[in-house]
Symmetry: C2
Subunit: 239 residues, 2 copies
């Protein structure tokens, strides 16, 4: 493996840096106890997340105007609440649950790994989450971004080419001096097509322990770096 | 004084958070020693800074396309080098001098004051400096922004209305939930016209000790807050 000469590393966030599933289960169970609602919150989290790509596609196709991710999450949440038969939540409770996405917990290696990478590279998120969501999340979880970037800056969602190129523009770097790190191959394909370098981060627990075996770890030849977690990425990038 | 109920405070940077003049003198003198160039670097810094508003006006009038501030600084620098009779600098040295604006030192109260404000508010720069310049500066000087915002996001310069409204948009806040803090009244007028709250920060030393008396401190009635420095702002905002 030759380490590519990049100045900045952009990170996918949901699943790559933070554990969305565990965090939704955490907040869901708390709400469930308070309101005496009996729901399988892991299944609820999965169902909510499964609405994610379809909801962005509705924006891409022009059926829904450009939206901050909170609005897409909220539409999906209402569907899923209905599907799981959850009733009796106040507007404030639904909003609070929707904003769980601002309060996702990092995987245990993420903050120490980013702390190391930050010594050598400029680091920023590039998520479909909007700027405010990412800023709230970073502040709460002490994620040491140098700056907060987002697909929102391009009014496109990943893996649209514009998202990667817009971030390179704000970093004032040509795409080949930027690396995209993500746990999802479609995201890295998009980044590669836009001329960025790529780092795969293996997150077998993203969809829970039961599905760990389904999460393929690619061969090292497929990306510039294939890492087991963010600390391993720091190690492999010499940080 | 009633403290307005805001969630975020945006800061002007050059002069308000950092001492551009002292930092240019610092780097200029070092370059002067290396290259045996005899220049009054304080006068040089002032002359460079005095090109700032005219250079942005050329973009506003359409004479020059939208530019990152590095490019405007560079055009101005070449004029000022010529005017001061500075010769014999390499391209690399000129570029390094131009990027002094990425390496400006904060006033002594800025980092501790922002550290306090950050406990209670979301804090970000709103400078005419571009995103990368502000990220580099924050990283070097350990300025604890929650996120890096900039006039660049609107492709306008302050005090154009778009700059303030675009930042409020990315903060996902109505303008009246945002405060602009600056040492320059034209900037606060622009922010107020866009519906933001305003905090004046008095920086009598911005243009050097000799001109301290010329820097008016407005009456407390003129802005939501009038502060002596960033620590005083933190105190007055209850942070």
């Amino acid at each position: 493996m030759t380490v590519p000469r990049v100045e900045a590393v952009l990170f996918d966030v949901f699943g790559t840096v933070v554990d969305w599933r565990g965090s939704i289960v955490r907040d869901g169970e708390e709400l469930g106890r308070e309101k005496e609602i009996d729901v399988d919150w892991a299944a609820f989290a999965d169902a909510w997340r499964e609405e994610y790509h379809p909801s962005m596609n509705r924006v891409r196709q022009g059926d829904v105007p450009w939206s901050k991710l909170d609005d897409l999450h909220r539409d999906s949440l209402e569907k899923v609440l209905d599907r799981f038969g959850v009733e009796g939540l106040t507007e404030g409770e639904i909003d609070q649950l929707n904003r769980t996405w601002h309060r996702l917990d990092p995987w245990p290696d993420s903050v120490p790994g980013l702390g190391r990478l930050r010594e050598r590279y400029l680091i920023a998120p590039l998520s479909n989450g909007h700027i405010r969501l990412l800023a709230n999340m970073a502040k709460r979880a002490e994620i040491p971004w140098d700056l907060v970037l987002s697909a929102e800056l391009s009014r496109h969602y990943k893996p649209d080419r514009e998202t990667y190129l817009t971030c390179a523009y704000y970093l004032d770097l040509p795409p080949e001096r930027v690396m995209m790190a993500a746990a999802h191959e479609y995201d890295l394909e998009g980044a590669r097509n836009a001329g960025l370098h790529t780092a795969f981060i293996h997150r077998p627990l993203e969809w829970g322990r039961e599905r760990a075996d389904e999460i393929r770890k690619p061969d090292e030849s497929e990306y510039d770096v294939v890492a087991d977690d963010v600390l391993d990425l720091a190690e492999k990038l010499g940080a």
